[in-house]
Amino acid sequence: MDQLTQHTLWQSNIRRKNWLVWGTCFVLALLTVYCWSIMNKDTIWEFVYDAPEQGADLVSRMFPPDWFYINKLYKALWDTINIATLGTLLGLIIALPVAFLAARNTTPSVLFVRPIALFIIAASRSINSLIWALLLVMILGPGILAGVLAIGLRSVGFIAKLFYESIEEINATSVEAIESTGASRFQVINYAIIPQVLPAFLGVIIFRWDINIRESTILGLVGAGGIGLFLSSSLNVLAWPQVTLIIVVILATVIVSEFLSAKVRALLIG
């Protein structure tokens, strides 16, 4: 092939790629505009236009925060932390066997057991903890228990997914070596698999705990205990100074938990 044809070929390749990119962008833009028009069918634009006024009004009502309200929040905060921590533990306990059943290299059957484990993971992951809480409050009644279960059920999919991916990445010859000593299945898990995946597992648990602290702050909106319960009741009576304080407390909790989890991670895995 001479240089000239090579050159034109290269150019046309670039051109075709450009067309593809611009075409995709154009279709995407059209889709967005279309979605925008459907979405805003029922939007009342007067409300949107006077948002700055509303905002100014809201801010003036929210400040100063009602600092003394904090005395009522301690118990709720403690509940929130318990919901997150116990929920994480519950999720971990269920996720552990699910992960081993879902990982290609440890599942007893790729054809039958693995799809079931994967379905459990997908179902748990696609339903948000607030929706889990909504369902559980309906079944169990309002309270912390519903919150713990909601956080736990939502965490199962997340933890199990990251666990089984790290199980699939382990060094297979170490497993072979332990098998060749005559070890049983559980001994192989204990000696060859757990030590290899432990750092990843700890990281995942801490990560999920941090997320769960955030999520458990709002579960109270549907009655599942914790500080969200107070947020919900303050919102209902439009007690904005209390709302401000609650938001501040939630933000502080989230920041502290992020700091703590970073510290613990560095300590354990570092």
């Binding site: 995407l28 889709l31 967005t32 979605c35 925008w36 459907i38 979405m39 805003n40 029922d42 939007t43 009342i44 409300f47 949107v48 948002a51 509303q54 905002g55 809201l58 403690w78 509940d79 318990n82 921590t85 116990l86 533990l89 997908a122 179902a123 992951r125 696609s126 339903i127 948000n128 607030l130 929706i131 909504l134 369902l135 309906m138 079944i139 169990l140 009644g141 309270g143 912390i144 228990l145 713990v148 955030r214 999520e215 702050t217 709002i218 909106l221 549907v222 947020l231 919102l235 938001i247 939630i250 933000l251 989230v254 920041i255 992020e258 354990l268």
Partner: protein
């Protein structure tokens, strides 16, 4: 006769190890003790639970089909528009929050904006935006756009901070302007990962759009909430199934597209 005991690498001292375990169990007892359960209420609830489970297995898509259709459509449109808007806005915020190419005041502003966006739950943001902009999808759109900026902006900034310095210097040394150097040196390096992350965020936005409806910001969440309030478990089951199916389709598609791009 020689003594051997398993060495521990994380907490080497036996005293601290035992204390930590003790602390853990004490916490467990106190924590579990703080859950006060109304057993009669739970007992009553079990029947509802089993009703719900059987309704979930026999979902009813028909009775409320109009509401469900409208809710799903609203969720999907919110997801599309907020993801697109979030991606577009996250680019300036991400560039501004990257230490190696930004200037100090802009860097601090962008970092602060991203930090606040990330530490606020979508639902809490939605509560305020509903108060400001009224009930409906527009508030939901703003909520998810805001959250997307925080999520993608942080990742984009980290990605830019981690790029190969040499390429940036090479382009700069040709006399390229700031904008040209971003276009030529940074964009090609961060683009592939950002496309993948954008699809990932699309997934998240759909899932969140199903939730913010509970506080009035539009989408399928409102329909679900109503269905549960009215004890229409079979409709609720149908909605949940639809959410699971759509999330799975999104995940499958985004995985496929990510593979196709790279």
């Amino acid at each position: 006769m020689r003594h051997w005991e398993r060495p521990h690498y994380i907490v080497a001292s036996k005293f601290w190890r035992l204390s930590l375990w003790l602390l853990f169990f004490v916490y467990l007892v106190i924590g579990i003790g703080s859950i006060d359960v109304n057993w009669t209420r739970v007992y009553e609830g079990l029947e509802r639970g089993s009703n719900f489970l059987s309704a979930f297995l026999h979902p009813d898509f028909i009775t409320r089909s109009n509401d469900i259709y409208a809710g799903i459509l609203e969720s999907l449109t919110i997801t599309v528009t907020s993801t697109v808007a979030g991606i577009l806005l996250s680019i300036p915020f991400g560039i501004g929050a990257a230490r190696n190419i930004s200037i100090k005041p802009i860097y601090l502003f962008c970092r602060a904006f991203i930090a606040v966006s990330r530490s606020m739950q979508e639902v809490i943001v939605a509560i305020f935006l509903v108060a400001l902009f009224g009930f409906g999808a527009f508030a939901g759109f703003l909520t998810l756009t805001y959250a997307t900026i925080g999520f993608l902006g942080k990742l984009l900034a980290e990605e830019i901070e981690g790029i190969d310095r040499k390429q940036l210097e090479a382009i700069k040394s040709t006399g390229a302007s700031w904008l040209q150097s971003i276009h030529m040196a940074i964009w090609p390096q961060v683009m592939p990962r950002m496309v993948g992350l954008s699809f990932y965020r699309f997934d998240i936005n759909f899932r969140e759009s199903a939730v913010i409806g509970i506080v009035g910001a539009g989408g399928i969440g409102a329909t679900l909430n109503t269905a549960i309030d009215r004890y229409e478990y079979d409709s609720a089951g149908a909605i949940l199934l639809l959410i699971i199916i759509i999330v799975m389709i999104c995940e499958y598609l985004s995985g496929w597209i990510r593979k196709w791009i790279s």
